[in-house]
Symmetry: C2
Subunit: 713 residues, 2 copies
């Protein structure tokens, strides 16, 4: 070609004249060039070419700028038009990018559950626009057909099992998930005897052991583990993508909601113990002020001797005025980590159980007057905050049948009721202690002490007025104690029945769980502590028997259970700060991971007296999580929404706090003006859950199409 | 309800009889229960409930098991049927999950480029099945409309610019990317004067400066940075998802290819310097054996005095038999990091440039005989290996016009030709030295010395036989030196022309690049060292002027440039081990990141003598990368394929090594029997690139539909 061939060097050309635009570009270019040269030397962190990811301020500024522009564009009609046309063009290019998408091999209305939320005219119109991550192609993520089919069937069976138990107990069962079965029933004859309920006169308890065994067998099955592990990994990365693509859009939604932010969305502290629900400072002040006015009041009877408050302090030879939070020593710390025993001792102010007896008990010489006062002060603070609610645990031990009566009296006489509190009954697993003290002859008696009074109160309310009223404000049962305590007894259908359980040993966790489930049936929600430590089997029992659980840390250890808890959206009230002092370092806490995957998690305080410093422990719990895990506003509001959903608050309250349609799935169930959760987020969660379920449905359908009888023999 | 209401505790029921299956499950369950209890105590790492992610062996076993099963299923017709039916069901559930997917707002054939590879009957049939990640919904990932449109336009302009320069120089330009423009031309009247080529008599050089300025301005533009940064993040996570979903499927493909594995796919070392292409051990042995037979041969003339090999060693007072690789000291190490000067000294065996002169030069007293012998030994090893190729650099300095003639003679007389080698000419940027030595009066003379001989040889081959033949085996030019050397001169259209460049200062990098591009035009590929260190502007020049580059580390620093290099698939030959000794720690090397995002990267050795230990430096480079970055077989084979593509090997060889259709896009261009790269991977890469380009196309289309004249004024 011309130039390269001819050897006249150097060539001369008439100078090119630059247009004005070009001149400008040149000047800019030279500026940049100059700074580029400078930069080489002064390795500047905030380069003009890179995106400053590690500079929070820079990042924030970028975000704000983008958001600002975005909101402005929202207003402008012009850009609205352009956006629309671009979206159409976009959808075209995408459709052309999905291989074979043009030859529409599509049949509609196969899966009512999939379509339900979209096809419902209302749903489709209000469905938010956002970037959806879709995986199309193979039948399932790189897993062999056989393993996939097996896993899907087992999972399906597990879903049926939980649903069965939820129904019996009027527990909530994830609506979307339930529709899976419905959908299948609709499209095929489902073998009715797959998960039979106990026939009349059949021992439901044995059934439970069998079902427990089924689930237990699943979680150790190799292919199942692989499948669930893969699905969970997928959920993580899918959310990561979703956030990356839609963070700004979600934020825009929130900004456009007036009068609503994280501070004024409802949040419920769904896991908190009454005896430790006040801050250490609060307790200290209360003790001191009480001493001022009541020094000479008789507050304790010890070894037949009546003691005044002053005498009590003298016997402990200390002066209440000199007390500090340090000498009070009710706060957990490094030395309680993995030492539940030491932690429990923390319930005793200045290590003296006299003070605990006087100030933190409902049933003492002063009939729990002081404790009632503290509770009311805590309640008052909640009412002041207006948007914070709590479900404090009060103890029923089962050592005597009279506990209920006195607890109810305490509640009624001291008027402890508060609109911002729902009450939970916690039952410590202390059979072995009562037995050794000869308070009960066998386990059955302990259960009777706990549940008989309820039945009686139900049968003749007149005879048990206080209890009958009190129960109105009790939303559920909790089973509490150190899960890491080991039991040698193996729970099976060979285990002795409660009335035959006469040894001094404590029954294992699962044994407690299933009996409490059985007896609480239909009367109360069962919301045990579970998976804070100890055996993985605890989480299996709870999967069947619990409405929702507290802690759930050990789900980390079993992908199968974690995936089952996701599919069935079993609510999990987690308390990272509590765990941090007892069983698991904050940074290792799976809360964030669970949240991102889409498990129904919420934040709760457990024991503010031991774990928190501020007057607003719940907010403290949220704040720290948000800081350390860089949670977005949408994230924390989603958590708050979960907490309301799983709480014992009534239907009317939930309608008021979450929106009238809160029972509906996905974005239709969300009123952003109440929850401040982006519709995009809601739609994402719902569509993602539907997608996971569809993998199971697909298999069951193909089964249905194929050989159904397999189940009948 | 019945039971919960009646207070007869405990209830007795007839024992349930267990079916055989249930009995089995129970026994299994009890086994698991037992081990679960045991596990609490012995916190076993290989729990039976978790997936052992941190246990490589366990992982490997799982994978093998899965793969085995998978392959067996491949055979079975039965499961083939089931897979098929499941896939159909799957596609149905998905279509129901994509909101509004039923109301098909689709127009076909909008974007030839998108459809081309799928719709071409052949393509669609052979298109592999795999899990595709699709993002549908908004017009673009959470970025404001204005920023998006701006960015897309700028990017499009940049693509046009590179394409222009590639065309002029017969450089390769990514076919898919080129089709973007074609597609648009087809669908709209493109303003012809957007990126004009220099009209006759116009100074193309000034044009280059203007274009250089345009791109330079882009990479510092805020919205552009954000946009590209987001797209790159997306590419990373998308690949992560792809791998997670299709790893097993890709592996299956590879396993089913017989007689082909990573060891026998072709790999080209596209960046290696002749003077350091042998291992230090090899050099040592060669020196010693040579000494044995040639001790008394005159090998050097120094200060008018002729010296034998023996005399040389005496003058250095050392005995060749005592030499070790340590005393040879040609190997880079910790002390060369960020010290290019020290590194360059390493070219001198035992720090004596006499030995370098004798053994590593083509133009010395013995006419480079020894060097030729070493080169032939290296070549021999490559031929033995059969599948490894190299493109060693030989130097042309431009200090005198005779260099070419003598280099060609060396090549011809010593018969250095090898079928496994292509030759590259490296031009060190040493103008300042030659000028100070009065070897050249100005920069133009240096250029003349480098390029005139070529033109002359082209014009009368008879007069320059050797050179004419030698040039047959030369594939391209390289521009080399320490990029971190700083130049104060700012490259602009005010810069003096070469013949006016008479100062002693060295011209800046970009100045070298554009002149070498200009003069190499059409005759040779231009493949400079670029982005190893120094100013980001180097990568801007290369983006326009280079066919492909070596190193490219600094792309890390500019998302815009990185994204441009991705979109145009500019090949990048990276040498992590070399970088590790000079400019960047191995762990911080962006190679893996670039590979995953889909940049066209390959691995090369740079200087085996300094950086490698084994007899197979290229394999060593691959092995270390594979180990440290856990690259899959498909990954390394993809890298090897890239190396062949970007090499100077001829069309026939590439057809033979990559498959007859290697010029086609995506999976159609790949012959897995040659490359051992999974069709799934190829399809993924292609579809992903198309998707990224479609974002740009969408905007240009909407522009086209909208106001075209914008460009005309």
């Amino acid at each position: 070609r011309r130039r390269s061939a001819q050897p006249h060097m150097p060539r001369q050309f008439p100078k090119v004249t630059l247009s004005e635009v070009e001149e400008k570009t040149q000047l800019l270019a030279e500026k940049i060039y100059a700074s580029a040269l400078k930069e080489e030397d002064t390795k500047d962190v905030l380069s003009m070419f890179t995106v400053h990811e590690d500079c929070p301020i820079g990042l924030q500024q970028d975000k704000d700028h983008e958001l600002q522009k975005g909101l402005e564009e929202e207003q402008s009609e012009e850009s609205a038009k352009r956006r629309k046309s671009l979206k159409i063009i976009r959808s075209q290019s995408i459709s052309l990018q999905i291989p074979g998408s043009t030859d529409s091999s599509r049949v509609d209305g196969v899966l009512p559950l999939m379509s339900s939320s979209y096809m419902s005219s209302s749903g489709l119109e209000t469905l938010p626009d956002f970037q959806r991550v879709t995986i199309s192609g193979d039948y399932c993520a790189g897993i062999t057909l056989e393993d996939y089919v097996q896993s899907a069937e087992s999972l399906f069976k597990a879903l049926l099992l939980r649903e069965k138990y939820s129904k019996l107990a009027y527990h909530r069962f994830c609506r979307t998930t339930s529709q899976t079965r419905v959908a299948l029933h609709a499209t095929m004859l489902w073998p009715p005897d797959m998960c039979p309920c106990p026939a009349d006169g059949e021992d439901p308890y044995s059934m439970e052991v069998i079902d427990f065994g089924h689930v237990l067998a699943m979680i150790a099955d190799g292919p199942m583990k692989t499948y669930c592990h893969r699905r969970l990994n997928f959920l993580s990365s899918k959310f990561y993508l979703h956030e990356m693509l839609n963070e700004m859009a979600e934020l825009k939604e929130l900004k456009s909601v007036s009068h609503r932010d994280f501070y004024n969305v409802r949040k419920v502290d769904t896991h908190i113990h009454a005896a430790a629900c006040m801050s250490q400072k609060h307790l200290l002040t209360f003790i001191q002020t009480t001493y001022k006015k009541d020094a000479d009041r008789i507050v304790l009877e010890k070894g037949g001797r009546k003691m005044t408050l002053q005498q009590v302090f003298q016997s402990l030879n200390m002066n209440p005025y000199d007390l500090t939070v340090d000498s009070l020593d009710v706060h957990a710390g490094r030395h309680t980590f993995h030492r539940f025993d030491k932690f429990n001792a923390k319930y005793n102010p200045v290590g003296a159980n006299e003070l605990r007896e006087i100030f933190l008990k409902t049933d003492n010489y002063i009939n729990g007057e002081y404790f009632a006062q503290i509770m009311k002060e805590v309640a008052h603070d909640l009412e002041e905050s207006k948007y914070q609610y709590a479900e404090p645990r009060l103890s029923i031990y089962g050592s005597s049948p009279d506990e209920w009566e006195s607890l109810a009296k305490w509640f009624i006489n001291h008027k402890v009721y508060s609109p911002n509190m729902k009450w939970m009954i916690q039952v410590p697993r202390l059979y072995d202690i009562f037995k050794s003290k000869k308070l009960v002859p066998n386990f059955a008696r302990m259960l009777e002490n706990i549940f008989f009074p309820l039945f009686e109160a139900t049968l003749n309310p007149q005879k048990h007025k206080e209890l009958h009223i009190f129960l109105k404000y009790v939303s559920g049962f909790d089973s509490v104690d150190d899960e890491s305590k080991h039991s040698d007894h193996m729970f099976s259908f060979r285990s002795p029945k409660p009335e035959q359980w006469t040894t001094d040993d404590n029954p294992p966790y699962s044994y407690y769980i299933f009996y409490m489930y059985e007896l609480g049936l239909s009367t109360f929600q069962f919301r045990p502590h579970c998976g804070e430590a100890g055996s993985i089997t605890h989480l299996v029992s709870a999967f069947l028997a619990a409405d929702n659980i507290s802690h759930g840390l050990n789900l980390k250890k079993s992908p199968v259970l974690q995936y089952l808890y996701y599919l069935t959206q079993v609510p999990i009230a987690m308390s990272p700060l509590s765990n941090n002092s007892l069983f698991l370092e904050y940074s290792k806490n799976p809360f964030r991971d669970f949240l991102h995957k889409g498990l129904c998690v919420s934040l709760s305080t457990d024991d503010p007296m031991q774990f928190h410093y501020t007057k607003e422990p719940l907010m403290e719990e949220y704040a720290i999580a948000a800081q350390l895990w860089k949670l977005s506003t949408c994230d924390v509001c989603e958590i708050a929404r979960n907490s309301v959903l799983q709480s014992g608050l009534g239907h009317q309250e939930k309608k008021h706090f979450l929106g009238v349609n809160y029972l509906k799935d996905g974005h239709e169930g969300n009123d952003i003006r109440c929850t401040n959760v982006a519709q995009i987020r809601m739609a994402y969660r719902h569509e993602t859950l539907c997608n996971e379920l569809s993998f199971i449905v697909d298999v069951m359908k193909s089964k249905g199409i194929g050989s159904l009888q397999e189940y009948h023999d």
